[in-house]
């Protein structure tokens, strides 16, 4: 199967090179057979890469340990689900997975794009094929997943225990899907620049793709936080690790694009900015891949150091220079159709929102690279950890949260004082009431107070918007509240789906603020001994060590420490945290013992128990107990955010035929009324 896999990789490379060469040469214009060969090569690349992936999967499933990748990431006793997910567990396999998904997306872009954008498609195929060719080249020349060993080991090393978690079966693919799908909007942007089709056509063509990409990134990042929380055992979900930061960067710029593109659609502004954002987002996705795979910056998440990093660095530089040069050559054709008229307008609010989102992205990138810069300039190594990122980014994040509430309420073009009063009285009151309530309750953490008060303000804006929409429908159509609500959302999914996304964002901030009140302690307990721990919500946990039991599971020896939990004296049940010594099928240890935490999750807080080990091989256990307030809300916020995103991109519910007429009418009304209110 390795021969077939190798052959398939070469076929994929040749087809991708053909597609890119013909597309960029422009010879396909007026020659239908050449034009068809471009898209044909895209489909062929996908088929070849699918064969390569199946070949590797067969090697994994049949335990062909003569393949270096199979021996390095699986063992005979590895649970079947993880054998399948081992395809993306290592450097080489994940490159193949990346190329496979990219070629799939490239094919879908050719098939699903409406025919009115057909002129862009050969260039789109050219870009996607060039990127695919790069990944296949990297595999063939630097990280070949079909590399064979000079001998065949009796068993493989097995999968890293921290990757043996259901979250890891879906978190990396989701993140990859996000990263990879960014290539399609980038390809359309380059196609628009090359073909000089610089109207809003390319933006309409990529709308679904940008949302899909943003959604996958959102899901991937949230699942990554969840995996870090339940698997890494340090009691948190975000450590500002370089690889975590790398995933956040394209999400931030993509979020900025999703906002600024509305201004281009409605007002014909920010054309250059939007193209720059898409190009930047693509480059950041490649940068993230470079950080993860090069080992240039220390990270617990990164793959082992390899020369693959040089390939990515070169590709990053070349694609950046080419894309921005292309943008520069089209600069004069990208003038805005109208200019910004007032700082008190939705356009201005969106501009500032973009400024802050890109500012946060820059800040995160700056902090991630600052250790390297410091070493270059001063020759001394420094650590840039959470205290740095929190100090720099929390104020910007709070401003961004405030703008989340301001943007949707302020009028297009120019807001009057009456408009501001009408829109903001209730939400500002909500925010102030929240602020006073928090202060009265004794809360003193400045950033947590600000986050919660601003969340109150944003919640006020969203509730007001939904309430006004429902009230208007009830008045015009006489509908019941539930019917009016559902039709309101269904008729304008983009707007109200966007509000749901904002609800998710504000829930995120509420959850983040909870970590300011985290409590943690260590204790050594003999069976039957207890320790008491005070929750920030006032109640007291009594945690009693019940003992440690050991047993064998499929591929590990488990030491399970059990704790009986009582809350304010009332029994709450048992919790278990484990030490796992993974072994191969010959019972030989494969990795250092890993830790599985015990988590009891509630709306107020999570009780998080870590079994650190035993004293002198006895049942006397060392524990770390952590109380993490409001963590459940993070996962719920992620669900709401993704649900809102799905509502936004759900087919139908878009502008109707009458929409342009309404827009014109609104414009006239604004003029007659002396400015929109």
């Amino acid at each position: 199967m390795t021969l077939l896999g190798q052959f398939a990789l070469w076929v994929a490379l040749l087809l991708a090179v053909w597609s890119a060469t013909v597309a960029f040469s422009g010879r396909w214009q007026g020659r239908e057979e050449l034009r068809r060969s471009i898209s044909g090569a895209v489909y062929g690349t996908f088929a070849a890469l699918a064969v390569a992936a199946l070949a590797l999967w067969k090697g994994l499933v049949t335990h062909d340990f003569n393949i270096e990748y199979v021996a390095a990431y699986t063992s005979r006793n590895l649970p079947s689900g993880y054998i399948v997910s081992a395809l993306w567990a290592g450097q080489k396999g994940s490159l193949l997975f990346w190329a496979l998904v990219l070629s799939l997306f490239a094919s879908l872009a050719q098939v699903l794009t409406p025919r009115r954008y057909a002129a862009l498609l050969p260039y789109v195929a050219g870009v996607t094929s060039a990127v695919t060719a790069f990944f296949v080249c990297t595999m063939i020349f630097a990280a070949n997943p079909f590399e064979r060993l000079p001998f065949t080991p009796a068993d493989g090393r097995g999968l890293n225990p921290q990757l043996q978690n259901p979250g890891m079966m879906i978190h990396p693919p989701m993140l990859y899907l996000g990263y990879i799908s960014i290539t399609i909007p980038f390809a359309f942007a380059v196609a628009a620049l090359l073909s000089r089709s610089l109207d809003t056509g390319w933006i309409h063509a990529i709308r679904k793709w940008t949302l899909v990409s943003w959604l996958f990134l959102s899901i991937g990042i949230t699942l990554g936080m969840w995996w870090a929380y339940v698997e890494l055992g340090w009691g948190g979900y975000w450590a500002w690790d370089p690889v975590e930061n790398a995933s956040l960067l394209p999400w931030l710029t993509m979020t900025a694009f999703l906002h600024s593109v509305m201004i281009q659609e409605k007002r014909g502004m920010l054309k250059r900015w939007n193209l720059g954002l898409i190009i930047g987002t693509f480059l950041l996705s490649i940068f993230g891949t470079f950080i993860t795979r090069s080992g240039v910056i220390a990270s617990v998440h990164s793959f082992t150091q390899s020369n693959v990093g040089y390939f990515f660095l070169g590709f990053l530089a070349v694609s950046g220079v080419l894309a921005f040069t292309l943008l520069y050559t089209r600069w004069p054709s990208l003038r805005a159709e109208v200019q910004l008229e007032s700082m008190l307008s939705r356009e201005a609010a969106f501009l500032f929102n973009n400024l802050l989102l890109v500012g946060v992205a820059f800040s995160v990138l700056w902090g991630t690279l600052f250790p390297i810069l410091s070493e270059l300039v001063r020759g001394s190594k420094i650590t840039v950890g959470p205290p740095f990122f929190n100090r720099v980014n929390i104020p910007i994040g709070l401003l961004l949260l405030a703008l989340t509430g301001v943007g949707p309420l302020i009028a297009w073009r120019k807001a009057s004082t009456a408009n501001l009063r009408r829109q903001f009285t209730a939400p500002v009151t909500t925010g102030l009431v929240t602020l006073v309530g928090l202060l009265a309750s004794g809360m003193r953490d400045f950033y947590a107070i600000m986050a919660l008060a601003l969340a109150g303000f944003v919640a006020g804006t969203i509730v007001q918007e939904f309430w006004r929409g429902v009230r208007a429908r009830r008045r015009m159509h006489g509908e019941s509240v539930p019917l009016a609500f559902s039709r309101l959302v269904a008729r304008n999914r983009r707007r109200y789906g966007g509000y749901l996304v904002h609800v998710g964002v504000l829930i995120y901030f509420v959850a983040f603020s909870g970590m300011a009140f985290k409590r943690e302690m260590e204790a050594t307990l003999k069976p039957g001994q207890s320790v008491r721990m005070q929750s920030p919500f006032g109640h007291t946990y009594t945690l009693t060590h019940m003992g440690v039991s050991q047993f064998e599971a499929l591929n590990r020896i488990v030491s399970a420490a059990t704790v009986s939990v009582a809350k304010d004296g009332k029994p709450e049940g048992l919790m278990t945290s484990e030490k796992r010594q993974h072994v191969d099928s010959f019972k030989r240890p494969t990795f250092e013992p890993s830790t599985e935490v015990g988590i009891r999750s509630g709306l107020q807080e999570d009780l998080y128990i870590t079994y650190a080990g035993s004293v002198n091989g006895t049942e006397e256990a060392v524990y770390r107990f952590t109380i993490n307030p409001l963590v459940w809300w993070l996962w719920f916020g992620g669900f709401v955010l993704v649900f809102g995103g799905v509502v936004t991109m759900w087919p139908g519910g878009g502008p109707t035929v009458a929409a342009p007429r309404r827009a014109v009418a609104g414009y006239e009304v604004a003029l007659v009324g002396g400015g929109p209110e």
Partner: protein, 195 residues
Amino acid sequence: MSSLGRRDFLGRLGALAAVPAGLQVQDSLAGRGDVGTLRDPYAAGRPRDVTRIEDYDERIKAIEHRLACNCGCTLDVFTCRTTDFTCTYSPKLHREVVAMDKAGKSAQEILDAFVAEYGEKALMAPRPEGFNLWGYLLPGSLILAAGAGLFAFVSRRRVAVAAAGAPDAAPSGAGPTATPEELERLRQALAEVED
């Protein structure tokens, strides 16, 4: 009764032989108050010391949250030593912190001592001084500068438009006439359908 293959049997025999004989039997039941021994203590990770009061003292913890572990984990000393139980660096650094604390050094003096011994990378965040100020101030400064530039640009343009006497926008033809009540109703209807 489950069957045991020859390979499994030999494997288990080998594993048992690797464990000291005295540790093979668990001599107490969980939850009974006795401190029994584990059947396979090596499977439960590195042996741990009994937690002392200074291991979770809030002051020590606060200092350790500001110190980076040098095992490459990117975590602070407290988090690493209570999370990565295979790390040998963070327990050593913890002992150094405790020793300095017992010697009467203040938090700042302990941090300074770590910087003197291990370099500035011993801190979780660089000190906001000298070149490091670029790290702290550049992002916020750029955002402020860009915001101020944007504000100035739009204000200047508005002044220029007003000076030229140009209309605020270019409506095509006269707008419709309507009463304030009609306008309000239309605005509300538009508010519902507007993106």
